[in-house]
């Protein structure tokens, strides 16, 4: 046994990677369904969006890039479906230069599915530089921060912007954030100052940093990583017949995630066991 554990400790790290690849690919090829519960943070986010009425306005700051796509795109898509289904006006901008090629086609595609008209029901304002300074400026006036939208129209002339200028004119601010600048910068710069109703969808890595903002009430809802996206999908498509649902990317990834976690736990257990047993042996 001790010999086996010693060999385990000296094992080439590439076997660990191969094991991880197998634990990801096999559940994908042989799918099964493990149940999962909806967290209070995601439920609160869903409930607040559900409470919106037709004609209300939501500002989405889509601050992510292809590197965080598997975690955030499922939430982003589901959130847009949720908002357009409720006939809510959607205004979207981004603080990440690499975001527009990713987020713009998704917004156009989903708005098209609901026959929403550009400029009247939704708009994409594009990328704005300046990080926290841009966020501060958005707090004062969206129209001045973005004099023109992504298509070159005057933002102030768009019907979707009727009655909307400062960020507090929007009913909800959703930050889909893969890091900096993102949720944290919005919370620190304008959420408290203007008492905004703000929700966040963030990567799993950022979730521990943002949970205190939810607990303090600075965020009314928080979706963390792929599990958060899967829980949100579960809530939004609860009443949708399976044949009418789009592909729920995060939900289908949850089983794989569970198997991957089990693999890491087994490795941690064996690694620690080997360490403590062999350390004892060396001391003797």
């Amino acid at each position: 046994m001790l010999d086996l554990l010693l060999r385990f400790q000296a094992m080439d790290r590439r076997w660990v990677f191969l094991g991880m690849a197998i634990s990801i690919v096999v559940p994908m090829l042989l799918p099964f369904n493990l149940p999962f519960k909806v967290d209070g943070r995601v439920q609160d986010l869903y409930d607040r969006v559900e409470a919106l009425e037709a004609g209300d306005a939501v500002y989405i700051s889509a601050d992510f890039d292809p590197g965080s796509r598997p975690e955030l795109e499922p939430f982003f898509r589901t959130h847009l479906h949720h908002l357009f289904r409720k006939d809510v006006r959607v205004v979207m901008g981004t603080l990440w230069p690499t975001a527009p090629p990713l987020v713009k086609p998704i917004l156009e595609e989903i708005a098209g599915e609901y026959d929403k008209e550009y400029g009247r029901d939704w708009t994409f304002l594009g990328y704005i530089d300046g990080r926290e300074l841009a966020i501060k400026s958005l707090g004062q006036s969206v129209r001045k921060t973005y004099p023109l939208d992504d298509r070159g129209n005057k933002t102030a002339d768009l019907p979707v912007m009727l009655g909307l200028d400062a960020i507090r004119d929007f009913d909800i601010l959703t930050s889909v954030s893969a890091g900096f600048p993102g949720t944290q910068a919005y919370v620190l710069q304008i959420q408290g100052q203007y008492n905004l109703e703000m929700a966040s969808a963030c990567t799993a890595v950022s979730a521990p940093d943002y949970i205190p903002y939810y607990q303090s009430g600075q965020l009314f809802g928080l979706s963390g990583g792929m599990p958060g996206s899967a829980q949100y999908e579960k809530l939004v498509y609860a009443d949708t017949p399976e044949e009418n649902r789009p592909r729920l990317a995060a939900t289908s990834g949850m089983n794989v995630l569970s198997v991957g976690h089990m693999y890491i736990i087994v490795l941690l257990f064996l690694g620690n066991l080997a360490f403590f047993l062999t350390r004892g042996g060396k001391e003797d």
């Binding site: 990801i24 994908m28 965080s68 598997p70 975690e71 690499t98 990328y127 710069q189 990567t203 303090s216």
Partner: protein, 262 residues
């Protein structure tokens, strides 16, 4: 599905496998993919900054609307490039001073408003309200309740006292300090868990793309025959994987042979 889309899928599969090949060993194919990624990222960023910042914020106000005030940011921009000359590099301090001052001011007010005041307030939970809402421990609400509130307060105090060095760490202080360390370890463990989850999620995203699970399984035309998208993607993945493995083996052998010859 047109040829452009199919080519896009092939490139995506090749680049994913090229990056993943680093897990085996550093190799020229990985380096190629890494440099390509850097170049494309910088290219996209540059274009977005030109059309998102330079054009609407500087060029249009200056050239079309003739706003002379826009000369000021232009001047600061020019001064920033003085850094590249030895003789006039001190001029670059002026725009840098503007940037530092603006960001320091913005950061300071943001931290004070958003983090300090709000988080200090949130770290003093109202136990009466907690008891009325969640009781001692609410399993359905992530363990919220009076016990969690007490753990938060005691853990926070223990952590703060662990970093308090103006008093010698005698026996009671050592005990409190240990609780502080335990709390910190729990928080590091939670962060590590979330990080692992995030990394596995990213791996899932790429594995879905390699197995053709990320798009609807529609029929695509390849010349005269029709195949399902998923089948085509999987065969492409297997073929590309073989190609990458053989290329790495060939490159490694060539490098070994040339080292031997030297």
């Amino acid at each position: 599905m047109d040829l452009l889309t199919i080519t896009g899928i092939w490139i995506s599969i090749f680049l994913t496998l090229a990056i993943l090949s680093f897990l085996y060993d550093d190799n020229p194919i990985y380096k190629f993919a890494e440099h390509l990624f850097m170049g494309v990222g910088i290219g996209i960023g540059t274009i977005e900054i030109y059309y998102g910042v330079f054009q609407p914020k500087l060029l249009r106000p200056l050239l079309e609307e003739h706003r002379l005030l826009s000369l000021f940011p232009l001047l600061l921009l020019v001064l920033l490039f003085a850094k590249v000359t030895r003789k006039h590099q001190d001029w670059a301090r002026i725009p840098i001073a503007f940037i530092v001052a603006a960001f320091a001011g913005v950061k300071l007010t943001g931290e004070a408003n958003g983090r300090l005041v709000e988080q200090v307030r949130a770290s003093m939970p109202d136990l009466q309200t907690l008891y009325e809402t969640n009781g001692w421990w609410d399993w359905d609400n992530g363990g919220a309740g009076v016990i969690s509130g007490l753990v938060l307060v005691l853990g926070l105090c223990a952590c703060l006292l662990h970093f308090y060095f103006s008093t010698p760490h005698n026996k009671p202080m050592r005990a409190i300090s240990r609780i502080g360390i335990l709390t910190l370890m729990l928080s590091f463990g939670a962060s590590f868990g979330f990080t692992v989850m995030g990394r596995i999620s990213l791996a899932i995203g790429r594995a879905e793309a390699l197995l053709g699970l990320d798009q609807p399984n529609s029929l695509i035309k390849l010349g005269s025959m029709e195949v399902h998208r998923m089948t085509a993607t999987r065969w492409t993945t297997v073929g590309t994987m073989l190609l990458v493995i053989l290329s790495i083996a060939w490159l490694k052998r060539r490098a070994a042979n040339s080292a031997e010859a030297d």
